[in-house]
Symmetry: C2
Subunit: 283 residues, 2 copies
């Protein structure tokens, strides 16, 4: 538990804070977020506190990872609440930069992670992972962490970041945390706040479809198409839903496979009303 | 003058060497090169030795910045000679990585600097600046320099790097060194070794065209088209030459201009026989 927490808005001051901590020999653990914390975020922060001497959490609703018709403007925000929650799990510093300074006029440099950005959410949200990789690299250069923690709920994002770190020789270790769920199984997401009470019920179909897939796999069904068909059936029978994609394939290359050996990734995105939810599991 | 010089091939060992120097409080000045040193390279190294406590020079003929029909295979190489030359100007460490480890199987992450990579060499060598920006970012992450020195001869490259450093909040200062020339004015380049003695004479047309442009500008001609026409005339009258481009425009945005206020960039690329040479000046 940490009684004091620093909130830094300036990029230069953040660099200075981190530089100062590094000079003192402190190991910095970093959790990049878009804010509006739920238990999933707090679990990442708690994990970070075991990995480093100082925990930095960034809150930045990154415009460059939203498509033109996506929910950038309505994305939920509550800085005061976030600060209190972060404080409650011992976070030392919140970095809360302004978009004007993260992307000043004339900004023109982008990170493209080619292979693992394709398929899944990459195909459905063009430019999304370019925006994610670019902002994460910027945040790494500003916060200068020794280790950074990402949630496995955004599985493809995790793979994009891991690949970027490896390819660009970034001096930071990436750690990941399993999906944190509500009691009934729904994966925690800031976007769950968009759901009406009926939609909240329907939203459980993602988890249910993943559980069904696991059960089928356990009973000996190893054919991806067959598993996918059963998942589709389950979701189609749920009101207010529309499948965006169901992916079954290799968890490293993110290429689809026909068979489902142990370690296979199943990931899906489903529209529930006007809210797009994602979830995944490893068989 | 430095009597000992370290040559490091391993990426991990280079990171360790730099980390060690940083921990000791030493400031690292870095000169990324493709080797086959001439006086231009040595001038960058000498500049670096005034900017840092330790000078690191990388020698890496970066395959990703060469096009499929370019001179990657015949690019001149002589490590032994390079080590001796670097030693003579007090370089502390040469980083000489292997392409297999810089770009291992599955490599897929690229840096795109959009605006300033367009036009000039960017249009003539598609993918060139993507390769340059990517390898320079990798080298920065491995060598961890406080400051890096680039030559102004590759003016567009300098602008791409400056833009990348600014946009990605990289913790490194970029310094540049003026074009270093042979006695008669030919800009130093490793590619000058490709020239036959007749071509060597023709190669002077780049410098002559730039001098002509300056003279015209001084006499009051401020129209870019007019200046370009006179430069073209001069080069066309030189045997064995073919103009790749002549650019007259803004030295920051690298956009062409009609007028030539003071500070205007004139840059050109000319084929002399089978060798493509570049040069530039600021009015």
């Amino acid at each position: 538990m940490n009684s004091s927490i620093v909130v830094i808005e300036s990029i230069d001051k953040m660099i200075e804070w981190s530089q100062n901590e590094r000079t003192k020999g402190n190991k910095i653990a970093f959790v990049p977020t878009m804010g509006y914390f739920h238990r999933g975020h707090l679990a990442l922060m708690e994990m970070a506190s075991h990995l480093g001497d100082k925990v930095v959490v960034s809150i930045f609703v990154n415009p460059t990872q939203f498509g033109p018709n996506e929910d950038l403007d309505k994305y939920p925000r509550d800085l005061k609440r976030d600060i209190d929650l972060a404080k409650s799990v011992g976070v030392d510093c919140i970095f809360f930069p302004n978009s004007k300074y993260m992307y000043p006029e004339g900004f023109q440099t982008w990170i493209e992670v080619e292979g693992v950005s394709k398929g899944l959410c990459g195909d459905k949200r063009p430019g999304h992972f370019r925006g994610v990789a670019t902002v994460v690299l910027k945040l790494f250069n500003i916060v200068q962490p020794h280790v950074a923690v990402f949630g496995q709920k955004d599985f493809q994002q995790l793979k994009v970041i891991e690949r970027m770190v490896q390819d660009l020789n970034l001096p930071v270790k990436i750690k990941s945390h399993p999906v944190v769920r509500e009691k009934d199984g729904l994966a925690m997401s800031s976007r769950n706040t968009y759901l009406s009470s009926d939609e909240r019920k329907s939203a459980l179909c993602l988890f249910k479809a993943l559980e069904l897939a696991k059960k089928l796999h356990q009973t000996g069904i190893k054919n991806a198409k067959e598993i996918k068909k059963e998942m589709e059936k389950l979701i189609h029978s749920t009101p207010n839903t529309r499948i965006d994609y169901i992916f079954i394939g290799d968890s490293t290359t993110l290429k689809e496979t026909e068979d489902c050996p142990s370690g296979t990734l199943i990931a899906l995105a489903v529209w529930v009303g006007n809210t797009r939810l994602i979830d995944n599991t490893i068989l």
